[in-house]
């Protein structure tokens, strides 16, 4: 088993934010170690044994989601007063990584509920909205989803064609949202719709819609390459009427809410990607010990050793980026660039590591008897959702250029 708490040499280049951050990168605080362990235990005992079957059946792990809710994992950052665990974002990232190591689908279900659904309501909701839309979604009984993308725009989020028109004391929503994770199992959604077309991206607002609801219907469940236990489908809004009080934040704030939510959400996905990478590495390293060829375990061959080294390096580097971005966020410092770096690094690590894991396993990597093929399929989406790798590069570049502005 990879030793995960090795002492690090000073990350002098990377730092700038105080001794606390440095030492946390080197060795997690006891609280975080304990919660990481409990999530790891849960993932090993309850998720890993069923992950392959969940994937085959495209089945939502309802029982496990409820158990995770009881553990506080479905609402890590939500304060205890609202029913959450009241922990920080670093703890959340650790939780998602450990759970994803057991089952990547469960990881994304947890991540979407925490970051994309509870996140914006926690940040932009009124006290009333928080009570109504947060507390019931902390226990695992209900999960939420996030509806930003449309068939006509993913990366181009500012071009939302879903419309919201005010009619008396109601908002009426019309349009279609695409690729919505969790939607077939969700009890509420945060929807982004245009309230003022002339204002372009400044004319988008966010709304809270319960599910099911008249005027809201779901498209067919997508048949995906990976993360099959989580449902993905279109949300179709046809004269979907909601009270005025269901607007989240102020009119025209939607784009800002979406972007800020995704900044945090991307750390959740980075964590998921790390979990997948780690699981693939576990699989490959274990196989390297057991499989013999040319008279010895293949782990003795340099070709395999170089692969394992590169795989471990990619994973560990991405992990540190993820932790650092999470710690910056917890310290209420700007973290957009670091979050984009973390997501980019982690998702590319996941695809790289899972690709190499199949290579290490040879033919066994290609069949469902071993989990390597599932990790490979699960990893691919991490480079696409919550900001494609291309978008992450743009975000990083924009931040760099700003730093160097004349």
């Amino acid at each position: 088993m990879a030793a995960l708490f090795k002492a690090r040499r000073a990350l002098g280049m990377v730092v700038g934010h105080g001794v606390r951050c440095l030492s946390q990168l080197a060795e997690l605080p006891e609280l975080h170690q304990m919660m990481r362990q409990t999530c790891r235990d849960y993932a090993q005992k309850e998720l890993a044994p069923i992950a392959a079957q969940l994937d085959k059946d495209h089945r939502f792990p309802a029982k496990q989601v409820q158990e995770l809710g009881a553990m506080g994992v479905m609402a890590v950052e939500v304060p205890e007063s609202l029913g959450g665990a009241g922990m920080d974002y670093l703890a959340y990232c650790l939780a998602v990584e450990e759970l994803s190591r057991g089952c990547a689908s469960t990881g994304v279900i947890v991540s979407v509920n925490n970051s994309l659904y509870l996140g914006p309501i926690l940040k932009f909701g009124t006290e009333e909205q928080k009570k109504q839309w947060i507390t019931p979604f902390t226990t695992g009984e209900k999960v939420g989803c996030f509806a930003l993308s449309e068939p006509g725009n993913g990366s181009d989020a500012g071009a939302a064609s879903t419309l919201a028109q005010r009619e008396g004391d109601e908002w009426v929503l019309n349009g279609t949202k695409a690729w919505i994770t969790n939607c077939w199992d969700a009890s509420a959604t945060v929807v982004f719709a245009t309230t003022d077309k002339s204002l372009k991206h400044k004319g988008i607002s966010a709304f809270l819609v319960p599910m099911p609801h008249p005027g809201l219907s779901l498209g067919k469940k997508e048949d995906k390459l990976g993360i099959r236990a989580s449902s993905t489908a279109n949300i179709i809004l046809e004269d979907c009427r909601i009270p005025l009080g269901n607007m989240l934040g102020e009119r025209g704030m939607g784009f800002k809410i979406a972007m800020q939510t995704l900044d945090s959400g991307r750390l959740g996905i980075a964590a998921q990607a790390l979990g997948i990478a780690q699981a693939a590495l576990d699989c490959a390293a274990d196989y390297a010990h057991k499989r013999t060829a040319f008279g010895a375990p293949i782990g003795k061959l340099q070709a395999i050793q170089f692969k394992l080294a590169d795989m471990a390096l990619a994973t560990e580097s991405a992990r540190l980026l993820t932790w650092r971005a999470a710690m910056l966020r917890d310290a209420k410092k700007p973290f957009t660039k670091e979050a984009a770096m973390a997501k980019l690094a982690a998702s590319e690590a996941a695809t790289f590591v899972s690709h190499q894991a199949i290579q290490v396993l040879g033919g066994m990597g290609y069949v469902t008897d071993m989990p390597a093929e599932r990790h490979y399929r699960d990893a691919r989406i991490t480079e696409i959702y919550e900001g494609t790798s291309e978008i992450q590069r743009l975000v990083i570049a924009n931040n760099i250029l700003k730093e160097y502005q004349q």
């Binding site: 088993m1 006891e30 304990m34 919660m35 009881a70 553990m71 665990a85 939780a95």
Partner: protein, 248 residues
């Protein structure tokens, strides 16, 4: 009051080169699974409001604190770490531990001691019984069900012949068997709460206990490699072979 042991759960057990024991360096230690069940039972009793306070106790070096914290995260109220390290820890066995527990039980005025039936590193299955004997308390060992009835404890015991139900007076010692319960995962809020709970350090000498061992380990060997079997054609051949090997 109950006692989770520190135990070994290594991926692969190796005997030390000097054959005095198994390699423990660099091996991740965690709570003995039977003790986890004991902790769970104690927390359950507290949740049913049948006991007032649950104290987690463990004997060993510094790392033991992690195990006690896990017990606190599961719901124990406070912890006691009995410091035993180095050579003393290597030779620490059930007799010394039960003396420590007996002393603590008297000091804390405990009414019930629950521990795992045995530690999975040495499989001794002695500490619970010895503790009860030292305290002159009744014992309900290999418990698969524990019910409090007024001032008595009804314990269903797993024995070779089936299940035996006994009633014992409190204070008593109970040792947990596999089917007593399924230990909970520490929830995040409880992990947070555990941080504020106290762990007190105590030395065996403070309790008047001498931890020197009366046992000397002569040697530790790996089990013999499994020999390959022999295939026979007929039942007659089988009987012959068994007679040859002196088995029948």
């Amino acid at each position: 009051c109950f006692a989770p042991f520190l135990c070994l759960r290594p991926p692969q057990i190796r005997v030390k080169p000097d054959r005095t024991g198994v390699v423990t360096d660099g091996v991740k230690h965690s709570m003995n699974p039977f003790c986890e069940i004991a902790v769970e039972e104690a927390v359950k009793l507290k949740e049913k409001k049948l006991v007032k306070e649950v104290v987690a106790v463990s004997c060993g070096p510094q790392q033991v604190q992690e195990t006690i914290r896990t017990a606190l995260a599961m719901g124990a109220d406070r912890g006691i770490h009995v410091e035993v390290s180095g050579k003393d820890y290597e030779t620490l066995g059930p007799l010394q531990v039960s003396k420590i527990f007996a002393a603590l039980a008297k000091k804390e005025q405990a009414d019930l001691i629950i521990l795992g039936k045995q530690a999975i590193d040495d499989d001794c299955n002695q500490t619970g019984q010895m503790t009860a004997a030292l305290l002159d308390w009744p014992q309900g060992t290999f418990a698969s069900e524990v019910t409090l009835e007024a001032d008595k404890l009804k314990v269903v015991r797993e024995i070779d012949g089936g299940l035996e139900t006994i009633k014992i007076k409190l204070p008593a010692v109970v040792t947990a068997d596999l089917r007593l319960n399924t230990p909970r995962y520490a929830t995040l809020p409880n992990i947070m709460k555990a941080k504020k709970k106290k762990i007190v350090n105590v030395k065996p000498a403070d309790l008047g206990v001498d931890v020197s061992s009366r046992l000397e380990v002569l040697k530790v060997d790996e089990p013999p490699q499994r020999q390959s079997g022999v295939k026979v054609e007929t039942v007659h051949d089988l009987v012959e072979k068994l007679k040859e090997a002196g088995r029948i």
